[in-house]
Amino acid sequence: MVTVYSGRSEELVGPLLEDFTEATGIEVEARYGDTAEMANLILTEGENSPADVFFAQDAGALGAVAQEGLLAPLPEEILGAVEDRFKSPSGEWVGVSGRARVVAYNTETLAEEDMPDSIFGFTDPEWSGRIGWAPTNGSFQSFVTALRIIEGEDRAREWLEGIQANEPNVYDGNSAALEAVASGEIDVAFINHYYLFQRLAEDPDTAAANHFMTDGDPGALVNVAGAGILNTAENDEAARELVAFLLGEEAQTYFATETYEYPLIDGMEADPALPSLGEIGSPELDLSELSDLEGTLELLQEVGIL
C-alpha cells in the first residue's frame, strides 16, 4: 500500500492511480486537495505525516516541503528520466508532467496575429481593461518568480506595474479567468495551457484559444507538476514504484492524451494540438530556482496586487 497526498484533483489523476494499482497490485490511498493546502498539511504534520508521496501541482509547493527537510532524495534511475531543469538539483522531487504558461484570448474579438510576441507587450495602454489574471494562483506566482530571475527585479516590477495600470480583472483561479475570456468579459488572461482543452471537451464552441510566447520570453515558462517521497514514508519501496510509474510510458501517455500536459520523458510527444516543448523555447531556468516565493510575494504586495 502507498499513501499519496495529491494536490492534483481526483478528476485529473484518479484514473491514473487506479492504473498503477492494476499494473503493480499496490493499493493507493489518496487524499485529494489543493496543492498549497496539501503542502501546508505536510508542513503541519511534520515528522508525523502518514503520507508516503506528495504529488503536487507546481514546483513551488514541492520546494517548500523540501526546504523543511521533509523529502527524501530520489534514486538516480528515477531522476535520470527527465531533464535537469524539470527536477530539484538536490534530487528531492521530480517533475512528471509539464504545463506551459499561455495567454488565453477570446477568438471573437482577437486573432493570433493580434497577440504581442512578448509578455511585456501587454503593458501597452491599448490592453487597458481587457486583461484578466489570478495573482493568488501558484502558477501565476511561479511565473512572476521566473520573471524576476530572468529579467531582474526592476523589469519584473515594471511589468507588474504596467499590467496593474491596465486595470486587470482579478480572478480566483485559472478556470474562472478562462471562463471570463470565453464569455468575452475580458479579451486575454494569463493562465496555464491545459485549461482550454478541458473547457473544449465540455463545450466545443468555447470562443477561446491559447497564444504561446516564444524565444525564451518569460511568458513561455514551462512549469511542472511533480512528486516527491517523504523521508518519513513507511512504504518507501511502494512510493518509489509509484513515482517511477508516473514517469513510465503508460502514465506519460495518460498526461499527453487525457490531461493535455507535456510528457517529460524522452521519445514521448505531446498532443498534436500543442506546440512541442522545443518550439516553445521556454526560458533557460532551473525550476528549483522558483522556490524564492517570498521575494515574489513581497513584490506583489509592494506593487499593491496582493
Partner: protein, 532 residues
Amino acid sequence: MATLTTRRSASRVPAPPAWLTGAGALVALLGLLPIAYLLILAAGSDESAIALALRDRTLGVLARTLVLAATVTTASVLVALPLAWLTTRSDLPGRRWWGVLSVLPLVVPSYVGGYAVVAAFGPRGTLQSLLEPLGITRLPELYGFPGAALALTLFSFPYIVLSVRGALLRLDPAYEEVSRSLGRGPWRTFWTVTIPQLRPAIAAGALLVALYSLADFGAVSLLQFDSFTRAIYVQYRASFDPTLAAVLALMLVTCTGGVLLAESRLRGRARYDRAGAGAARPPATVSLGAWRWLALAFCSVVVGLSVVMPVGTIAFWLIRGVSAGEPLNLVWDATLNSVLASALAAVLAVLASIPVAVLAVRHRNWVGVLIERATYAGFALPGIVIGLAFVFVAARFLPAIYQTLPLLLLAYLVRFAPEAVGVTRASLLQVSPRIEEVARTLGRRPGAVLREVTLPIIRPGLIAGGALVFLTAMKELPTTILLAPTGFDTLAVRIWSATSEGFFARAAAPALLMVIVAAFSLTVVLRRERDR
C-alpha cells in the same frame, strides 16, 4: 402585560450542577483549541510579521471586510424577517414549500454560488444578454464589494430565517392579542410587541451571518473582493508561512470578539419567557388578503435568486457537459459519506449546544457566559485555520484518531457548534424557568428536568439548530480535505475538485445531489418543527 416580557431578571440565579459546567467547559475548550494553536504559532513571529499585520493595506482590507460583514448582516435581516414571518404566521399560499425553499440556499456551497452570481449578473452574464436588445451595454460593476455583498447575502440569510422561524413558532400570541385588545393596530403591535420578543433570535441569526461573512473565502474570491480571509489564504498558499497567517488570523479573532460584544449589547439581558400561568397556544394565522400577491412576489424574487439561479447554473453545466459527451457521474459513495458525516455532526452539535445554552441562559454567571462566547471562536476563522489546528494537535498527540471520522466530527463541532448554540439559546430564553422550578419541587433532579421538561419544549429550536449544522457541514470543504479519513470522498470535495480544474459538467451531478439531499432532509425537518 406586554412590558412584562422584557422585565429584567431579579430572581436568584441557582448554581449549575457540576456535570453541566463540565460538559459546557469541554465544548468551550474544544472551541478555543484553534486559538491556542494560533497563539503558539504567533509567539514565534518576528517584527516583519507584526509589520505586515499593521501595514496600511492590511488594516484597510480588514476595515473593508468589516464593512462587508455589516452590510451583509443588515441586508440579510431585511430579507429574512419577512420570509420567516410569512412562512410561519401568514396564510401565504404554499407556505410549507416556501419554508423549505427559504432555507435551502444554505446548502449552496459558496464556490458554486459565486459562479452562479457571476453567470447571472456578471459583465457577460445572462441578465446582460437579456438587456442587450434594450440598448444596455454595460451593467453596474458586479465585481468587488457589490457582488461579494450580494452573493454572501443570498447564501447566508437563511441563518436568520431558521432562527426567527423557531422563535415565531414558540411565541406566545397572548401578548400580541393583549396589545391588539388595548387598541394598537397590527403594524404597531408587530413593531412594538413581536419584534422586541424576536430580538434574541434575530441577534443569534445575525451573529452567524456576520461571522460567516468574515470567514468566507469561496464567494469573495470568485467575486474579486479583497477580503481579510483572502489575505490569510495568500499567506498559506504563496509563502507557506503559517506564522504570518496566524498573526492575521488572530486579528480576525479579535474582530470576532468585537462582533460578539456587539451582539451581547444588542440582545441585552432581557427575559423573553411567558410571565403568566398556563401554556402558550399556537399563534393564529394572519390572513394576507390582497397583500398575498406582494408577498408571493417577494418570496419568488428571493427564492429565484438564491435557489433557482444556482440550481439553474448547475443544471446548465450538466446539460452542456452531457450533450458534449461527458459521462453523468452519480457519486453515491460520496453522497452517503456526506450525509453520514453531516448528520453525525448535527447530532453532536445539538447535544453540545444544550449544556452551553443552559449555562448561559439559566445560570448566567461569568463561567457560563464565557463558555457560551468561547464556542463562537471557531466560526469566524477560515476553515483552513481550524483544519490545520486539529492536524497540528492530532498528528502529534493523538495519532490513534488522526484522520478518522471522530476527529473530523470534532472539527465540524468546533466549526459549527455556534449555529446550534445560538438557536438553542434563543429557544431556551422563551421557556419560563417557573416550569422547570415546578418540576424540581415535584421531586425531579436537574438532569431529569432537562430531559423531561425543558428539551421537549425547545424541540423546534433543537431541530432548527441541527438542520443548520447539517446543511453547512455538508458543504464544508477545507476541514474535510485536511481531516477526513484518507479516501473519504464527500460531495463537497467532489464539487470543488471538479470546479477547480474547470470541469463544470463533472461538478454538476454531485452539486445537484447535494441540493436534492438537502431539500429532502429539510422537508422532513420542517415538518417535525411543528409537532410538539
